[in-house]
């Protein structure tokens, strides 16, 4: 009863936004409007970041582009909505965006109580700490009494609290609304430590005035499987987003890349590859897509390895090693179900 009173009070204000998101068939909506509305970050290099011309790039951006390629055969048919961590779930729940691809950690609570579904993982991450080199800190266990800056509304906030509690270390939390301002606070000396996912630390470090003056501590204090999120209850849409990524992982495993996919499609006799690329049968039909959906993903966006190297690989400013985000055949954990 108590909860009902509260709900009545707020119903009028928010009912409109929520009810807009109630429609089920996202694929039909997307086809009708001609593009995918993709929720991304406000700027995390390597994951989702806009250049000065407003062109978005990054691993998370490519997840949306792959879906667009699968549906429209054109990876450019995506519009982006930059979201802060605290806005992101509401934006997806309310139907403002079709896919949330914003380095979002898959957790139990988020998957079960937000009315959302995590599709699959496009980056396996873990939370770490960054400190100034001149502090002489070598391990997170030495951080007793430190001041820690982080962004609000993330799993980071809770992991940090759990870590310090578990090891009985005291700390001062400075929790800032936006990642960029949290980083500025760290850069200005408000905090000793900046914490977020390790990939994010590498990305943010590349934005600092003197990246070499900061070190990322060796400890990884949490599991952070990041991946695209869709609304709960639209299974077809979830399948499309999921399999767009599986196709990219499978393509890398089969040695198919954007460079050779056209040639392989013409020449190959491998029935598995022929099925994948739509030469034999129509695998796309079950998803409500064309037979060449997988071909388009690989041709337009590339396989997972290409996406990784292009956005966060060792040759980029973010400079992350493949590590655990390698194929299972190469010692990583990427293992996609077969397309058959």
């Amino acid at each position: 009863m108590k909860s009902n009173v509260g709900k009545i009070l707020t119903t009028a204000a928010v009912a409109a936004t929520i009810s807009a998101g109630a429609s089920a068939a996202t694929l039909d909506d997307v086809k009708a409007k001609g593009f995918i509305q993709c929720g991304v970050s406000q700027g995390v290099p390597g994951f989702s970041n806009a250049d000065e011309k407003g062109n978005w790039s990054g691993i998370d951006v490519d997840a949306c582009r792959a879906t667009a390629a699968a549906i429209f055969g054109d990876a450019q048919k995506v519009k982006f909505t930059p979201l802060s961590a605290k806005e992101r779930f509401t934006a997806l729940q309310s139907g403002e965006i079709d896919i949330l691809s914003r380095n979002t950690t898959w957790t139990y609570t988020r998957d079960t109580s937000l009315g959302l579904d995590f599709t699959t993982v496009n980056f396996y991450d873990g939370q770490g700490f960054m400190v100034r080199k001149d502090l002489g800190v070598e391990s997170a266990m030495e951080l007793d009494g430190a001041t820690v800056c982080t962004e609000q509304g993330t799993t980071t906030e809770l992991n940090m609290a759990d870590f310090f509690r578990k090891h009985n270390l005291s700390y001062v939390p400075v929790i800032v609304q936006k990642a960029d301002e949290a980083l500025s606070a760290y850069a200005s000396g408000r905090c000793d430590v900046f914490t977020t996912d390790k990939s994010g630390l590498a990305a943010h470090r590349s934005k600092l005035a003197d990246p070499a003056a900061h070190v990322i501590l060796p400890e990884t204090i949490s599991k952070e499987p990041l991946g695209p999120v869709v609304r709960h209850g639209d299974n077809q849409w979830k399948d499309i987003v999921t399999w767009a990524l599986f196709v990219q992982i499978n393509a890398e495993e089969m040695g198919i890349s954007s460079a050779n996919v056209a040639k392989i499609k013409a020449d190959t006799k491998d029935p598995g590859i022929r099925r994948l690329l739509g030469v034999e049968g129509n695998m796309g039909e079950a998803l409500g897509l064309n037979a060449d959906w997988a071909y388009n993903i690989i041709a337009e966006v590339g396989n997972y390895g290409e996406v990784f190297e292009r956005n966060v690989g060792p040759k980029t400013p973010v400079g992350l090693p493949r590590g655990v985000n390698n194929l299972w055949t190469e010692g990583g954990v990427l293992y996609a179900p077969p397309v058959r």
Partner: protein
């Protein structure tokens, strides 16, 4: 009204009856729309599998809060985190209102000053701060404060006080046994002082004899409290701040987030209040001051007894709006890590629980009640002041 002239008109043509019918129809429509929206919301939330209700308030929050005036740890509930944030919002609003009023009155008077330089400085202050967005000013104060202060290793030290980027550290008084006695003595001395002031006023109205009640009562309070403190054997020990590896630890700390929000809110609103004060004072006819002087009242009493009471009648209503603005603007503190209501409830809690409607509803309820309380108080004060008018 309908009873007086209902002799000849039919039921439907009666103005009173019609008004009632229209009101009833409107009520039905409002309730129906409200019910429809509520029902629609419930159904949609259920369809999408989003949890509803306020059960989350009893679940452990798991996140830390930088400033908590009551005991709070990560193991406490979302409900307690809500209360912590609520207190932070109240504290910053009330302190902001007091400080903004002081700044506003000083700046308003300064702008009216005969001194050319003082008047110009006040004008520059008012025009600059009124015309820049508050959020911008908050970032300015936050990052300006941070940039100006030294790193913890190079703290500025005055005795047991430390000043650095992490805040101002001071000794933290810890009350020992016997402090109760001092507090009781303090409260009793205040009661006595109030009694003294009331007595002095009464005597002045009856006999015209004046007694320096305010100074006497101040002396009384200080003397009684200090004596009680000494008699109880100085029952206070101090927790002194000390340098540690990263920060200064121990003691009491005033963090830069709080300082930045307080400065930004009070200087910004103070600029608006200054103009309201100036308008109020200018609205009082110069003849009033002249009349008062010709009666031989000194300038101080002229201001306090003649000009101010009349000016206040003009000042209070717009001042109320400024207080309301300040209370609501305190929500911008979320942007620079001040853990007030919006930051904790609509930021972290909303994100961890995903219950947008409940958390936003809670925030709306709080800001609504906070603003209404300020309104009620100011309306009461306004009524009290306007009684002075004849």
């Amino acid at each position: 009204m309908s009873n007086n002239n209902s002799t000849n008109t039919s039921f439907l043509n009666d103005a009173g009856n019609r008004a009632l019918i229209f009101q009833a129809v409107l009520l039905v429509v409002v309730v129906a729309v409200g019910y429809y929206l509520f029902h629609n919301l419930q159904a949609n939330l259920e369809n999408q599998g989003i949890s509803t209700g306020f059960r989350f308030l009893n679940e452990p929050a798991g996140f830390p809060i930088l400033i908590h005036l009551i005991e709070y740890t990560e193991a406490d509930t979302y409900g307690r985190a809500f209360v912590v944030a609520l207190i932070n919002t109240f504290v910053i609003s009330l302190m902001g209102i007091v400080l903004a009023t002081i700044i506003g009155v000083i700046m308003g008077l300064a702008r009216l000053s005969q001194n050319w330089l003082v008047a110009r400085l006040a004008t520059v202050y008012i025009e600059t701060l009124r015309n820049l967005p508050l959020l911008l000013q908050m970032f300015f104060w936050y990052f300006a404060v941070l940039a100006a202060l030294p790193h913890p290793r190079d703290s500025i030290i005055f005795g047991d006080f430390f000043l650095n980027k992490r805040g101002i550290y001071s000794p933290n008084p810890i009350f020992q046994d016997g402090m109760d006695f001092v507090i009781v003595a303090f409260v009793l001395s205040i009661v006595a002082a109030i009694g003294l002031i009331v007595w002095a006023k009464k005597r002045q109205t009856l006999t015209g004899e004046w007694f320096p009640a305010y100074w006497t009562s101040l002396a009384l309070i200080i003397a009684v409290t200090v004596l009680a403190f000494i008699a109880a054997g100085s029952p206070v020990e101090f927790d002194l701040p000390q340098k540690s590896r990263f920060n200064v630890s121990g003691g009491m700390v005033l963090v830069p987030e709080f300082v930045a929000v307080l400065i930004a809110l009070s200087t910004y609103t103070g600029a608006f209040i200054a103009e309201i004060v100036r308008a109020g004072i200018l609205s009082v006819n110069w003849g009033q001051t002249e009349a008062s002087r010709s009666l031989g009242l000194p300038d101080g009493l002229t201001q306090r007894l003649i000009v101010l009471p009349q000016a206040l009648r003009v000042i209070i209503p717009p001042l109320t709006s400024q207080f309301l603005n300040l209370a609501k603007n305190s929500s911008l503190g979320a942007a620079i890590a001040y853990p007030e209501l919006v930051a904790v409830v609509m930021g972290t809690t909303l994100n961890q629980t995903g219950q947008a409607i409940e958390t936003i509803g809670l925030c709306m309820l709080v800001y609504g009640s906070l603003s209404l309380s300020i309104s009620f108080f100011m309306n009461w004060y306004n009524k009290k002041m306007s009684l002075v008018e004849r």
